[in-house]
């Protein structure tokens, strides 16, 4: 378990983070989300023992980062925003070096390297010089070095940044694949990039956690419901409007022609996707698309980044996550 209590980090007189209080339970995939300069990298660097905190406590599996840094380092695998790779080494040489640095025995290192190479999809590149690899493969090698010593916790700083769409999908699969064996903490400044990967999101602004919940809960609380977008064929704008108005609890947004169908934006207090789908199909129309609005996540992130009130009281009376 990762425990962060009253953490502060100052760079000279300026406060980078704090006060920060977070607990991450074993087995979770947690996303740390915030704008550039919000304090994500500083938080992760402290967790990885690359930086020391100015005040507060950070413990990994009960070991404090200041008092027992080597114990923490042995339990944490860290991928910084720029993978720490020696370009002149081959992937195999580098991973064996990283494994040995992280207390993997000389006998076990080659076997462990073969395992992580398989896991991260770089098995065919093991004898290639790192400097000649594409950005996507370098990122994979970076992840491989982070997990080569079987750490309990894997900390990834913007692992998806700079990847092309195909690499992003592959990277998401890779990160989800880590979830079984490791507790994963990923940072990003783009909500849509990590929302599909994480069980829990921590939103950080000016060094303080302003939201801490699942993506759905954060979206619902921030926007006061869900924003859905549907594309329907076989109906014109007025017919679709009439159809949707028959459903309770739906707030209709914009409707307009899009290709062969009509696109409608609706807002709901709770997840009404099943009801909407049934209604459209029963009306004999073609449901071409139904999902969360593309702009929903951006809108949530903008609101949180700007500091609009997420910290409303939860329905259960608890604080909304702002600390």
């Amino acid at each position: 378990m990762i425990q962060i209590r009253g953490l502060y980090k100052y760079y000279g007189p300026s406060r980078a983070i704090g006060p920060l209080d977070v607990e991450v339970q074993a087995g979770q995939v947690v996303g740390l989300l915030g704008e550039n300069g919000a304090g994500k990298t500083t938080t992760l660097r402290i967790l990885a023992c690359d930086l020391l905190p100015s005040a507060g406590q950070v413990a990994v599996d009960g070991f404090d980062v200041v008092d027992h840094p080597d114990e923490v380092r042995a339990r944490v695998g860290y991928l910084p925003d720029k993978p720490p790779l020696y370009p002149e080494m081959t992937v195999r040489e580098f991973l064996v070096f990283a494994a040995r640095l992280k207390r993997v025995s000389k006998q076990d290192a080659p076997r462990r390297v073969a395992e992580v190479a398989e896991q991260t999809g770089i098995g065919a590149r093991l004898d290639q010089v790192i400097g000649t690899l594409s950005h996507g493969f370098q990122q994979r090698v970076g992840i491989a070095q982070a997990i080569v010593h079987r750490p309990k916790f894997v900390v990834l700083d913007e692992p998806i940044s700079g990847l092309d769409p195909r690499q992003i999908v592959e990277m998401r699969h890779l990160i989800r694949g880590l979830a079984g064996d490791h507790t994963v903490l990923i940072s990003s400044h783009i909500l849509s990039e990590i929302s599909q990967t994480c069980d829990r999101l921590l939103v950080i602004r000016d060094g303080v956690i302003v939201a801490d919940d699942s993506e759905a809960a954060i979206v619902n609380r921030t926007l006061g419901g869900m924003r859905l977008s549907l594309l329907v064929g076989g109906l014109d704008i007025s017919a679709l409007r009439a159809l949707l108005e028959e459903l309770d609890g739906l707030e209709l947004g914009e409707l307009g022609k899009e290709g062969a169908g009509v696109r409608a934006q609706v807002r709901t207090a709770s997840d009404q996707r099943a009801r909407i789908a049934r209604k459209v199909v029963e009306a004999g129309a073609e449901l071409l698309e139904l999902g969360r609005s593309e702009h929903e996540l951006e809108s949530v992130f903008m609101r949180l980044a700007e500091g609009s009130a997420y910290a409303e009281k939860r329905p259960d009376g608890r604080d909304g996550g702002a600390r």
Partner: protein
Amino acid sequence: MAALGNVALIAGRELKAYRRSPLGAIVVSGMLLMSGILFYIFGLSADRLLSAEVLRQFFYNASGPLMIACPLLSMRLVAEERQTGTLTLLNTSPVTDAQIVLGKFLSALCVITLATLLTAYMPALIFVNGKVSVGHILVGYLGLLLLGSAAMSIGLFASTLARSQVVAVVITALILGPLVTLWLLAKVTDPPLNTFLGALSLHHENFKPFMDGVLRLDAVAYYLAVTVFFLLAATKVLEARRWR
């Protein structure tokens, strides 16, 4: 044991990096070339000299290229890692800053030792027409290695301070230069200051005994002290950077 293993691991990687980059080969070649030219001009082409004097001249001439080579070999040790971001790998692995510094230092020391030993053909040439004591040769080489060790530790310290390799070389020069030329200051000052400045001089007072084939423990202790001091300083700089 684990600590020694970490030091050996880091030193091994650095040695491979020297072998793969052109820098190591260029610096070592340059050092050998300069030493060879100086030996030819001042040792072989000079007026008739006693064999011991030729050997003495050789050690004196070899110390210059050695002190130039050290900052060029050490400049990349930490500055390059910081520049490329690979220092993070070392910082976030269960190795101490002292192990990082020692591993890097030993790798650079290996390279400069190899380069120094490659000059051995020059003293060997003296045996063609003359005779010198093997002890003189061994003590002279010990002096060169101790001087190289001190200069390398200064270079490594400078490399921990700088993000750019060029800046690291400049910082090394700014430390090495005054330390080497302290004996000049000693010449123009009165006792007891001149004795103090002379004893602190990196080259003249402390290197002369080795050139003459005299093994003086105070000179050995001086070079070891300089080496340990700057290695400790480098370790403290790395530690301090985590508190930034």
